[in-house]
Amino acid sequence: MPTQMAASLCITFSPSTSKGVSLTVARECGQLVFLEGLKSSVDVFFRAQVEPHPLQFLREANAENLQPLYEFVREALKPVDDGEAAWRCPVLLVDDLSVLLSLGMGAVAVLDFIHYCRATVCWERKGNIVALVHDSGDTEDEENNILLNGLSHQSHLILRAEGLPTGFCRDVHGQLRILWRTPSQPTTQRDRSLTYQYKIQDKSVSFFAKGMSPAVL
């Protein structure tokens, strides 16, 4: 069963820095397809578009859905050579969905976009999706809460990264709470939630149990 996992974290957890991933090389050989929203949003306004641009909603006063953006994702996933995909198990990383809310899309439109991405990436292509949503903790922000909770209910795995409740620390940058929502493993009820603390380093992140930071041991 395809699961939505922290694929991006797998890349940065590399134990030795010499095994880093070169995104430029990946992009050149077609392994990485990168849509830079900020740059391409300029194209929407200042360049004539023949076909709908993925970020077409920026131009439209009443953009109701993110279908052009979804079409872009679907096109990028299509196998290029003679019907066989060059790369297996695609991963879609979305950074981040809260920006789409700020740009005027409704929470339901963003949820529809992710729904369709799930249907294509997870179900059709047996891949994974990792999406980021910010939680400002503002209970007044209904749209963001709908997006956050809606996405949580669609996910098999939820990673909540937050600062330490006790404040800033130089050696521990925050804590990560991992919640599994896979329903078909009732025997692991006790393992449904784990909390780690982490420190972000130059090219990786180191994780440790609460209170077990190397700086204090």
Binding site: M1, G106, R181, Q189
Partner: protein, 363 residues
């Protein structure tokens, strides 16, 4: 990261509806209540247990006498992010299928393969699945999408149910509620039960049981209340220490509502294991709209006042408060030139000099 959160945000397209109280709260004598929804609301998922006259003792759902009401109304099951309710919904579906009923499922949130996972082949063959997951809004334009969008799919389901006991499962009500107006959804649900009743013969045989999953964090009190009012049973899921619990509120017509709490777990083969008994925490997750608990009620010291103490406290005049009595006392001429005197007994080491009383200070 951190793009300005200064909207413009699209305005919500769904107005909030108040509960219509149609046939709700068991006050309706005629049994004309709309489709009773048994919602099972997990802390996340609200699924609706079905309660109409079916002996579902093993599920912990209270059996109801058959009524003339056509609705099988189960209710919404309310779940949450932490305690998901889809597994409970699947367990109830399995129970219905094993009981020989036809089961129709409207799947919106997960793919058909994922939903059918866990059911064995005999049960899977009894499930009629309407797939709204793959292309709910007809973006792909392949012609394979269910016509009419979500509402059309719901109405098509209604037409296809044969007379006889049938269970309809909606996965999920939240998905439908986010994309359809609340009133339209409630009307479609009511229409479904009415049409099913019209199609059938005797009152007891034709029973439609509707199970719906509702994610309670996604909706305000208005739409949730509206759906609850249609439901005969609501199951709210929560849990502590890794153990899931279900708070079941059952509203039978002409009877008082009952509230029961059960521990449960869903086994890998989707059978339901009820542990019964009162949980450690006997109250469900507190509703933010209920009044706060008195903070002075569970202390080791007494903060409450008796009647006499309260009277004494109220009648006390504070010493530095300028009350009218004090004003009168000041305005009245005093009894003598000095009302206070200081008595001082100097000891052997005192050297009092009346002309320079501070002479002994070394300043």
């Amino acid at each position: 990261m951190g793009a300005g959160r200064g909207k413009p945000r699209a305005l919500p397209t769904r107005p909030q509806y108040r509960a219509s109280a149609e046939g709700g709260s068991g006050a309706d004598p005629g049994g004309e209540a709309g489709p009773a929804w048994s919602g099972v609301g997990g802390a996340g998922d609200v699924s609706r247990p079905r309660v109409s006259g079916r002996r579902t003792g093993a599920c912990g759902l209270l059996p109801l006498p058959p009524t003339t009401a056509p609705n099988g109304s189960s209710g919404p099951s309310r779940d949450s992010v932490e305690w998901e309710g889809r597994s409970l919904l699947k367990a109830l579906i399995k129970k219905a299928a094993l009981g020989g009923e036809q089961v129709h499922i409207l799947g919106c949130e997960v793919s058909e393969e994922e939903f059918r996972a866990g059911f064995d082949s005999s049960i899977n063959s009894r499930l009629v699945y309407y797939d709204l997951f793959r292309d709910p809004l007809n973006w792909a334009q392949t012609g394979k999408a269910l016509p009419g969008g979500p509402l059309g799919a719901l109405q098509a389901m209604c037409k296809r149910t044969d007379p006889g006991p049938v269970t309809v499962a909606l996965d999920s009500l939240s998905w439908l509620l986010l994309r359809l107006p609340c009133a339209a959804l409630c009307q479609a649900l009511c229409a479904m039960s009415r049409q099913h009743a019209c199609r059938g013969g005797g009152p007891a045989a034709e029973q439609l049981c509707m199970l719906g999953l509702l994610h309670r964090e996604l909706h305000g009190p208005g739409p949730t209340g509206a759906l609850s009012s249609l439901a005969q049973t609501e199951v709210t899921l929560s849990g502590t220490a890794g153990q899931a619990s279900a708070h079941i509120l059952c509203r039978r017509p002409r009877q008082r509502p009952t509230l029961e709490t059960l521990w449960f777990s869903v086994l890998p083969d989707l059978s339901l294991d009820l542990q019964g008994g009162p949980p450690l925490e006997s109250q469900p997750h507190p509703d933010p709209h209920t009044p706060q608990v008195d903070p002075a009620s569970h202390l080791t010291f007494n903060l409450h006042l008796s009647k006499r103490e309260r009277e004494a406290k109220d009648s006390l005049t504070l010493p530095f408060q300028f009350s009218s009595e004090k004003q009168q006392a000041l305005l009245r001429p005093g009894p003598g030139p000095a009302t206070s005197r200081i008595f001082y007994e100097p000891d052997a080491f005192d050297d009092l000099d009346p002309e320079d009383p501070d002479g002994d200070l070394d300043v």
